[in-house]
Symmetry: C2
Subunit: 244 residues, 2 copies
């Protein structure tokens, strides 16, 4: 059996907590990691406070295989992520020559001292390749530091995908039903007990519920889902809206 | 000066972490709390694992004034929030007569044992009033337990608003600029140093940046924002796209 590889996502940003900005990276990352055989196990939104970032990163990097952060890597005084990551690792910021070269070629004659601030990274940081080039994200051990702007976050994720060694891919199937979940709660719980290899979840909707079957052992998804279909057909054939 | 009242939000749900469902409650709660004088300081998404929920709730309830949870209060086997909350408080689930009466009047002759499961709450739980009635959320000390379905989450929040004693309301103003944030980073940092009462943030966009001024001391927002407007007019009068 393949190993389950885990990840946590730390979203750094007062603007998410104040409600000014809606996060758009969590759902993208959850889906993208899933496709690469990594299970997102936790996500946190922390404020722009150095110690909070340090604590969140240090708690997560011991617990999960990969950590991703978003936000706080720009050039203004409220961008404190890079320094916080250095401190989390007991590391210092030093001029990263590769980053400095990238910035110089990106900004050309417009390059200022402020831009060059972005080249100061933890001494153990490795740059993340991306098509946008500036600002660059980086990785220290298992912590990937990405920008918060969704377009840049996605470009950076593309650049790091090959660094991620995924494990078992979780497959998911689903039955949409027109019944309230309370009416199938008992039979569904019995089915879960019979197939512990499959994580079964019920998600109520305005018109009924979705019964979701997730597992890295695909054959058990199909067997248990088909068994649930039979049970539903006995209760009421019209209760099955769709299976996928 | 009014006290800053703080909150944390714990989103319970494998479906958010797997990417199947996009969370829609965080932004609503952040805005609604802000309007009621409560600052959201942290948000977490935790999986449907009892110990993870217990640990997240116990860490947060000591650190913040109010805790809100969403998800896992339904009738299926994967709904484990209520029991986890009881355990976090070292409490037991007992039949809550008020909840039982609500369920009986809501379901009438359709009431089953499964529905009645929702009446078993921590012994110290107080029901949350809401217009939807079933399932009901509840509160134990400073922890408010709400449903995950956005429509029900919002209805429950309406029901608990009067239980929340807010503090200083944070007001926010903003300057949209057409310049990249790197070009104002130095002057903006100097302004932040001059007005420590105001939290100043810069958020890059595809067309420039938004400079945000937030504080519970409103007069300083206006003074510092107007000073930034003057600085921008000196740099380039056309750089100011809008102020609000």
């Amino acid at each position: 059996m393949k190993k389950i590889v885990t990840a946590a996502f730390i979203i750094i940003g007062d603007e998410i907590l104040s409600g000014r900005t809606k996060d758009e990276n969590l759902n993208f990352l959850a889906c993208a990691l899933g496709e690469n055989g990594v299970s997102l196990k936790e996500a946190r939104v922390v404020p722009d406070i150095e110690q909070e970032i340090i604590d969140a990163v240090n708690a997560a990097r011991k617990k999960y295989d990969y950590i991703f952060t978003s936000g706080g890597v720009g050039t203004t005084h409220d961008d404190i992520t890079i320094e916080a990551i250095a401190k989390a690792f007991g590391d210092n910021l030093v001029k990263n020559e590769e980053a400095a070269n990238l910035l110089a070629s990106y900004y050309g004659s417009r390059l200022t001292e402020i831009h060059m601030k972005m080249a100061y990274l933890p001494s153990r940081a490795k740059l993340i390749e991306n098509d946008i080039l500036s600002p660059s994200g980086f990785v220290v051990e298992n912590v990937f530091v990405l920008a918060g702007v969704p377009r840049i976050f996605r470009a950076m994720f593309e650049g790091i995908k090959k660094e991620i060694v995924g494990g078992a891919k979780i497959k998911s199937r689903e039955i949409k039903i027109s019944l309230p979940e309370s009416s199938i709660a008992k039979v569904f719980a019995d089915l879960q007990k019979k197939y512990p290899q499959v994580i079964m979840g019920s998600y109520p909707s305005e018109t009924g519920a979705s019964l979701v079957f997730r597992s890295a052992e695909y054959e058990f998804i199909d067997i248990s889902l088909e068994e649930m279909v039979k049970i539903l057909q006995e209760i009421d054939p019209k209760s099955i809206v769709a299976t996928s």
